[in-house]
């Protein structure tokens, strides 16, 4: 009963709460609250209100603000209340100000003084209230005002005060690390506090400090381990037990800290093994909090230097989680699995069925978590199934945030693992169609590039097929309403470039479609610009092929509209189109060569083709060109005059003496020119060609030549081949992963090196297969898997690093791998690598591939860090393929894994051939149906609809 005391509110407040509770509509509620605000406004400014009454008004204000109404008129009264002597009133005041004000509010200045006084109070409850306010209301500027008092409180006799003082100091650190950096050592000191509660609280700031700078806290590993040991051995008083667990929250914090400290540090990790192992054993997995500690142990185990025993216990716990009925535990299990497969990918295989269950679970949270897991375990063998599922899910959800994320993941996976370009294009089409405007524009550029590049081999036939299938699919898709702008840009570009290339569609078909696009999306200028350029290309190709060009009437009207467009870009394009149509076939063929988007633009930097013209001009009496370097020596008149002219034109007459020209002036003009060319948006890959062409007539003047040169340089930077910008040439082989693989690469390099990445794609594809092949032949022979998680971990860690950062020079890595590999393996195995196989990696026959997969089983144990890092996804793939290998052999086990006792009773041989066959073939509806029938026949009722599915996902 006593506890009810101080918090009692008056009847008026109860009535207010009640009437709001009974309000039937939002409008009614608003009316009641507005009424209340009026009442409070009136009452609160009355003179001589009893303190108790005032306190209640403030509580009512807080309540009103919680309901979303403005209570700012009462803030000042709340501030006044903090000055009060009575603890009751003061606490209410502090509560109100912490809820009302932010640290930069004007009224804070009125509170700081009170806080200072209260921090020195004898009553620890007052001090606690003030510390509470400190956390919320003190900003960087006011920290010095209260810092000395807070520091004193760290040694306060009451543990509650010490605890809060530490938190306040932590808060200061969060807000402005520099202002308390000299006091950080206090956290270490408080770790030895007599009170375990204070020690536990200290772990919060220490966790953050360690997360920022691991190395300066390595010395604490021993202390943390011994604390954790004591806690786990129940050395703390019973008061800290929670659901029969000894201080679980402290254990969790400590495990988190150890995970940070042990990450990649073998020595530190070794200190932790025993205690973590103990906790695994002791933890009670029947309570929620016990599972929380277990989960934290898994996180810790997967972060520190791996230990096989601990990994085993972690895997056990995960399987317990996944088998549990609780969705919470399943969620944690999936999350933990995602952490652990980085180290030991094979464990995913045991849980394939559970993972599929989670994927089909009605619980959205669980589903998303599972997709996250699948994303982590995607490899080239299962990418089709996973991405397909992801896209289906993406279509089904409305949450734009998550849609964007999942779309970018689909793109990333498709770019990384695409089994064929055909598939890639189809997948991209689906992504664009359903989440087009949420996808990064770079993805669209990538797609266009891929279509233009084709397979990157000399097999023109395949390329043509690919393109015509792309064209066909786009013509079909165009029929659908409301396509996203980015997708339309791709479509227009591809139609323009390849629409008529294979002769299946006539120019009028394509141009008609393009005009439709421009008309249907008439307020999207970018799409219109793409469509116009595409039109120009189609007509240019027609003219170049000596065919007669008839402009469609709708096209003509479109051009007329564009010629008068407000957008200069559109106008320019329309005029260019007009000009091109007027030219003869030969000229057009020069301007717009067919299928040349990937060709390099040869730039004659010396402008030697102008020599005749110059000669002629000089003969007519023109001044010969003097290079800038020579001119600067004489500070020539022309330059001077140039400047005069410039300034006169801008300012009118000048009467004071001209100042001496500064040398810098010379470079000013070119600089701006460069800048301007750089700034010019280049929304279309055809642009360089156009600009090249359009600037040609302006060549014959000094300034003109300079300009042309510079302009080309700007253009070259974006589009040119690396041969002539030496700086970028080396990046060809190195940057593939960033640019091509992940769309998060830095924007500048991705956009500007479009051309380079075209080139880089080809060698990359080869390399990956080459390596796979190499690894397979290197480590082939033994089919038994002997995974040493230690090395596996190293590889996986390094590889994850590459996936994230991915700027490891590929070539050097390759060298490393080549060096490292022979050292480990008997040389006779090397002979298995046939040179022909490496060069024609893309045409591997399926048997070879399967063989390769089986052979790859040893890779896990033998590959050391360096080669693994060089080609991370593949190594992961190999791991997984390893799993596939085991899969084939242990299919009887697998079926028992299907979790039905009746299966295990069956002789394993009946099921074996079926499974082996299907696993070697990958997704196949017929197989899966057969399998399904078989499984049903045996009385298994698989919880997933398609039992074959997990093989694709996990096999």
């Amino acid at each position: 009963m006593g506890s009810q005391g101080g918090f009692y509110q008056s009847k008026e407040f109860l009535d207010l709460v009640k009437s709001i509770g009974e309000a039937r509509s939002k409008a009614e509620e608003d009316r009641i609250v507005l009424n209340e605000i009026e009442t409070l406004k009136r009452r609160i400014s009355e003179p001589d209100i009893p303190k108790r009454k005032m306190k209640e008004y403030i509580i009512r204000l807080v309540y009103i603000e919680m309901l979303g109404h403005d209570a700012s008129f009462g803030y000042i009264h709340a501030v006044k209340m903090t000055h009060d002597d009575s603890l009751l009133v003061k606490r209410t005041g502090y509560l109100a100000v912490t809820l009302f004000l932010n640290e930069d509010h004007d009224l804070i200045i009125l509170i700081v003084n009170t806080i200072q006084k209260d921090l020195k109070s004898d009553n620890y409850l007052v001090v606690c209230a003030a510390l509470n306010a400190v956390c919320k209301l003190i900003n960087e500027e006011t920290i010095p005002a209260v810092l000395p008092q807070v520091m004193e409180l760290l040694a306060h006799p009451k543990e509650a005060v010490r605890k809060k003082a530490i938190m306040a100091l932590h808060r200061f650190y969060q807000k402005s690390p520099s202002s308390v950096s000299h006091l950080v050592s206090n956290f270490r000191k408080r770790l030895c506090d007599n009170d375990p509660g204070v020690m536990g609280a200290t772990l919060c700031p220490l966790f953050e400090l360690i997360a920022r700078d691991v190395n300066s806290y390595k010395d604490l590993v021993i202390s943390f381990v011994s604390i954790l040991k004591q806690v786990a051995e129940r050395r703390l008083s019973k008061a800290y037990d929670y659901h029969q667990m000894p201080a679980p929250f402290i254990q969790i914090k400590l495990l988190k800290i150890l995970a940070l400290l042990g990450s990649g540090d073998k020595q530190a990790s070794e200190n932790m093994y025993t205690v973590v192992g103990d906790i695994f054993r002791k933890c009670d997995s029947s309570s929620n909090i016990g599972n929380a500690v277990l989960y934290e142990c898994i996180c810790c185990v997967s972060s520190i230097y791996p230990n096989p025993k601990l990994l085993e216990s972690a895997a056990d716990v995960i399987s317990r989680f996944l088998k549990s009925d609780s969705h919470n535990l399943k969620y944690m299990g999936i999350d933990a699995l995602g952490r652990l497969i980085k180290i030991s990918p094979e464990i995913a295989e045991q849980h394939q069925l559970a993972v599929i269950d989670c994927l089909e679970d009605p619980d959205d949270t669980l589903k998303r978590k599972t997709f996250e897991l699948l994303y982590k375990m995607t490899k080239s063998t299962n990418v089709e199934v996973i991405v397909d599922r992801m896209i289906d899910y993406m279509i089904s959800i409305n949450d734009n945030h998550y849609k964007t994320e999942i779309a970018s993941r689909c793109v990333e996976l498709a770019e990384q693992f695409a089994p064929s370009n055909q598939w890639f294009i189809q997948t991209m089409n689906r992504v664009f169609e359903h989440a087009g405007d949420l996808v990064n524009i770079k993805v669209a550029h990538n797609l266009m590039r891929l279509i233009a590049e084709g397979f990157g081999e000399d097999d023109d036939n395949a390329d043509t097929k690919l393109r015509s299938s792309a064209v066909e699919s786009y013509l079909r898709i165009l029929g659908e309403p409301k396509l996203p702008s980015v997708f339309l840009q791709v479509i227009c570009w591809v139609l323009g470039e390849y629409g008529t290339a294979d002769g299946m569609f006539s120019a009028s078909d394509i141009t008609g479609k393009l005009c439709d696009v421009a008309e249907a999306y008439s307020n999207d200028e970018t799409v219109k610009a793409y469509a116009t350029t595409a039109l120009m290309k189609i007509y240019a190709f027609e003219i170049a092929a000596w065919r007669k060009v008839d402009m469609l009437p709708e096209c003509q009207s479109l051009m007329e509209e564009l010629l008068a467009s407000h957008s200069t870009d559109l106008q320019q394009r329309a005029y260019e189109l007009q000009a091109v149509i007027g030219l003869d076939a030969h000229a057009v063929a020069c301007i717009m060569p067919s299928d040349a988007s990937c060709e390099d633009i040869e730039v004659d930097r010396d402008l030697s083709f102008l020599n005749d013209y110059i000669q002629e001009a000089i003969e007519k009496g023109a001044q010969p060109y003097i290079p800038e370097s020579e001119r600067s020596g004489m500070l020539n008149i022309s330059n001077f005059r140039n400047q005069d002219h410039h300034e006169a034109s801008s300012h009118g007459l000048r009467f004071e003496a001209y100042e001496l020209p500064k040398p810098a002036v010379q470079s000013r003009i070119p600089q701006t020119l460069i800048a301007s060319t750089e700034i010019v948006p280049v929304p279309e890959p055809m642009y360089p060609r156009e600009s090249y062409q359009t600037t040609m007539p302006s060549i014959p003047s000094d300034a003109g030549s300079a300009e042309l040169k510079l302009r080309l340089e700007g253009v070259q930077k974006k589009w040119g081949r690396s041969t002539y910008t030496p700086a970028t040439s080396t990046s060809n082989s190195t940057s593939q992963k960033t640019v091509n693989g992940t769309s998060q690469g830095d924007g500048a390099s991705t956009v500007s090196s479009m051309r380079e990445t075209y080139d880089s794609r080809k060698p990359q594809v080869e390399v990956s297969h080459e390596k796979q092949k190499l690894a397979a032949s290197l480590f082939g022979g033994s089919s038994k898997t002997e995974k040493r998680p230690a090395t596996g971990h190293k590889a996986a860690k390094a590889s994850s690093h590459v996936v994230e950062k991915s700027h490891v020079p590929k070539s050097s890595m390759e060298v490393a791998s080549e060096k490292a590999a022979p050292a480990q393996q008997p040389p006779d195995l090397l002979d298995l690598g046939e040179p022909t196989a490496t060069s024609t990696a893309l045409q591997l026959d399926p048997f070879k591939q399967l063989e390769g997969l089986l052979d790859a089983t040893e890779v896990a144990s033998a590959v050391n860090g360096a080669p693994a890092a060089s080609r991370s996804p593949d190594i992961m793939a190999l791991y997984a393929d390893t799993a596939a290998g085991i899969h084939n052999k242990n299919d009887a086990d697998l079926l028992s894994g299907l979790s039905n006792p009746s299966v295990t009773n069956m002789p394993g041989t009946t099921a074996m051939p079926q499974v082996t066959q299907s696993s070697s073939k990958g997704p196949n509806p017929k197989d899966s149906l057969e399998k399904d029938a078989l499984v049903r026949q045996m009385g298994v009722n698989p919880s997933s609809q398609n039992p074959n599915l997990f093989k694709d996902l996990l096999g």
Binding site: Y8, S10, L87, K164, R171, G197, F207
Partner: protein
């Protein structure tokens, strides 16, 4: 760190809202609405965790627990463990239960400032400082003891209105 603690009823009425980073009133309302719209679309028997990044931005998770007519919601970042936060909610509710003997929605509505006091003893500046409900109880009782004596006096002096008194008596029972 914990970003926000919310208690709302199944109709979406906010009963308690505490944000550990300052947010404008409008933003707070928006978040509360966002959370509620997600919560009420959740089926029974699903997990208590929600991916809250679309509501609260990067690196935020949400754990909720449904008790009778109330949702208890904690929003936090990756430095906390979901299952542990679920137990934190349990501690919070257990403490409320001890304070109010069979806590119900009305208790939370009518004892607004006390709920805040309890929460402040548990979560301080976004960090969990106390997880033992008996310790929290002790601290809260110590605070209310200070209030009780002057408060009772004033009650006796001022309250003639018996409706008020009866409500008070109701709470004492």
């Amino acid at each position: 760190m914990i970003k926000a603690v919310m208690v709302m009823n199944t109709q979406g009425k906010s009963r308690l809202a505490k944000f550990y980073e300052y947010l404008s009133v409008e933003k707070q309302q928006e978040l509360i609405r966002g959370v509620f719209s997600v919560l009420c679309s959740r089926a029974e028997n699903v997990s208590n965790f929600i991916d809250a990044e679309s509501i609260f931005g990067q690196d935020s998770r949400l754990v909720y627990k449904h008790f009778a007519t109330l949702y208890f919601v904690f929003v936090f970042d990756s430095s906390e463990n979901e299952l542990a936060v679920l137990d934190l909610i349990q501690v919070f509710v257990e403490t409320l239960d001890k304070c109010f003997q069979n806590v119900c929605e009305l208790d939370i509505v009518f004892n607004y400032s006390k709920i805040h006091t309890i929460l402040d003893e548990m979560v301080f500046g976004g960090q969990v400082v106390e997880t033992s409900s008996s310790e929290i109880m002790k601290a809260v009782e110590e605070i209310s003891k200070c209030f009780l004596s002057p408060f009772l006096l004033s009650c006796v002096k001022m309250h003639v209105d018996d409706v008020r008194f009866s409500t008070f008596a109701l709470f004492l029972i």
